[in-house]
């Protein structure tokens, strides 16, 4: 029973972080139909922005805000400078589907190189704002700690804000309309180009939170070659696919399924499955529900 609760809580925490990364990918996918592999690099860069901020103010929560703003600006810049040019010049033919993949993979490496140039290749540390010592139940000590609880709270808070933004505001309506039908959005007077850039910025900010939380969920260390960030990208991608790529709610559910099932596989089957478990889950999801958790066959959802 104790072990079960422990695994559940660990799974929810990592699921929450995967959900954010998956949302970042889905926000870009919805606005430009591009799978943005550079997202891992952007999250990494944003986390370095947070690290830099911490050096000056020593407050994790303010640093998180600065990382979000930095991530948003970086993403908007990438969309306006690179993606617009790229999509304009490769709008049809076989190249249209391959070019964005190659471009964003290239961008990922460029960002990593720039980070190394600025901050060096060695590990740096971001101090967690709360204790990473687990709560106790009787004589047992959980892995679940105040920091992990705060991570879940931050994710829930962010998801609530995003959900209000998308469902209750005109900006959200513009984002959804532009994603589902750019042409009708334009006929309704929406400046789809601006909305697209905003979608990327929102994605950049969301990815920044994923990055910052990932680091303090672990041992606090950060490096340009971080394997955790590569895994974060893969997990986010898998969660997004499980969620159906177009649905925001589905994406969050996808992230949770991935986080929980990975935690349970590692606990109860074998922790040597660490790298393989996510792929097995992806495979299962694609076989059982290729249209995504909430997707209807051949349909799309808000």
């Amino acid at each position: 029973m104790f072990e079960f609760i422990n695994t559940l809580l660990i799974g929810i925490t990592s699921g929450a972080i995967y959900s954010l990364m998956a949302l970042a990918l889905v926000l870009v996918w919805r606005s430009t139909r591009v799978v943005n592999f550079a997202q891992a690099g952007q999250a990494l860069a944003s986390t370095y922005f947070g690290f830099e901020a911490m050096k000056h103010i020593d407050n994790f929560w303010i640093a998180l805000l600065i990382a979000m703003i930095g991530g948003a600006i970086l993403a908007a810049f990438i969309e306006m400078v690179f993606m617009r040019l790229l999509l304009k010049h490769t709008s049809s033919g076989a190249i249209a589907s391959v070019a964005p993949i190659i471009a964003t993979l290239g961008l990922l490496e460029v960002i990593r190189a720039l980070i190394t140039l600025k901050w060096g290749g060695a590990d740096v540390l971001i101090k967690a704002p709360l204790s990473n010592t687990g709560f106790s139940i009787g004589t047992h000590t959980l892995v679940f700690s105040p920091m992990k609880l705060a991570i879940i709270a931050v994710v829930v808070f962010l998801l609530s804000i995003l959900s209000i933004l998308f469902q209750k505001t005109n900006i959200g309506l513009s984002l959804r309309a532009s994603a589902f039908s750019p042409e009708l959005a334009r006929l309704a007077g929406i400046r789809v180009d601006l909305v697209r850039t905003f979608g990327w910025a929102l994605s950049g900010a969301t990815g920044a939170v994923a990055g910052m939380l990932l680091v303090v969920n672990g041992n606090g260390s950060l490096s340009p070659a971080s394997i955790e960030f590569s895994l974060l990208l893969i997990s986010g991608f898998i969660a997004a696919v499980v969620g159906g790529l177009d649905s925001l709610l589905g994406t969050v559910i996808g992230g949770m399924i991935l986080g929980l099932s990975t935690a349970f596989v590692l606990m109860y089957i074998s922790d040597s499955l660490f790298f393989i478990a996510p792929f097995i889950i992806l495979l299962l999801a694609l076989i059982i529900r290729p249209q995504g958790i909430l997707g209807k066959k051949g349909g799309r959802r808000a």
């Binding site: 005109n170 309506l173 513009s174 959804r176 309309a177 589902f180 039908s181 042409e183 009708l184 959005a185 334009r186 006929l187 309704a188 007077g189 929406i190 400046r191 789809v192 349909g299 799309r300 959802r301 808000a302």
Partner: protein, 236 residues
């Protein structure tokens, strides 16, 4: 306040879809543009609403050059386009589709009163306002598409085959609604249709397109009684 189209040419790549098209729509009048499939009707409307660039010619509305600037600008000058084939977003609710039409309007209380007008015209939409658009019937979707266009407070309405895919009874209702809307709001309307007879019956004037060219034009009544037009487009 007249729509003036003069020697308009529009190409899809090398294909001339609209060639030297000239016509005018006086304020508050309804002009039917009829022609068979592939005649260039949709291309004409898309050029006027700014979705598609023109090759040459002129098109003006209230001294506003329609061939410059894009769709998101034109709608702010009172031009609403209901594009071909259920111009709604199925992933949104009925009310969200309507709100979309007014999203650029600064004055939200005016937008609210537009919504009340649309609901008065199409009570069915009010009953279903919270429902997903995907659950609507074809006729209801077409009403919603027209409602969305009205939410932009248009003075010029461009309608692309509103009767497409509807049952005969609904076709009659939609044409009546369009005629009423035009009169009630004093709108100028360009109504594109393959359903030539029904369109001409509610129109002041008509333009017959064939392979991108105007082959006949005039008062609607004259076109209806023109033997050549009858033979080719009205089926008797």
């Amino acid at each position: 306040m007249t729509l003036i189209v003069n020697n308009l040419n529009v190409h899809h790549g090398a294909i001339a879809a609209i060639s030297d098209v000239t016509f005018t729509v006086p304020q508050g009048e309804l002009t039917a543009v009829i022609g068979s499939n592939g005649a260039g009707k949709s291309t004409l409307l898309r050029a006027l609403s700014g979705l598609k660039g023109a090759t040459s010619g002129n098109a003006t509305w209230k001294e506003h050059n329609l061939l410059k600037g894009s769709a998101e600008i034109h709608v702010r000058h009172g031009i609403s386009h209901v594009s071909e084939g259920m111009s709604v977003i199925p992933e949104l609710t009925v009310e969200e589709n309507l709100d979309l039409g007014a999203i650029w309007r600064r004055n939200k209380s005016e937008a609210q009163s537009s919504k009340r007008e649309v609901f008065a015209l199409f009570p069915r939409l009010e009953e279903r306002r919270k429902q997903s658009t995907a659950t609507l019937s074809g006729g209801e979707r077409q009403m919603l598409a027209i409602g969305r266009a009205l939410m932009s407070k248009p003075e010029l309405l461009l309608l692309d085959e509103p009767s497409l895919g509807l049952a005969p009874l609904l076709v009659k209702q939609i044409f009546e609604a369009i005629s009423n809307i035009s009169k009630q709001f004093g709108l100028s309307v360009v109504l594109v249709e393959q359903n030539a007879m029904s369109a001409l019956q509610i129109a002041h004037s008509g333009v017959v397109l064939n392979l991108g060219r105007v082959v006949a034009a005039g008062k609607a009544q004259e076109l209806i009684s023109d033997p050549a037009v009858r033979a080719a487009y009205l089926g008797y």
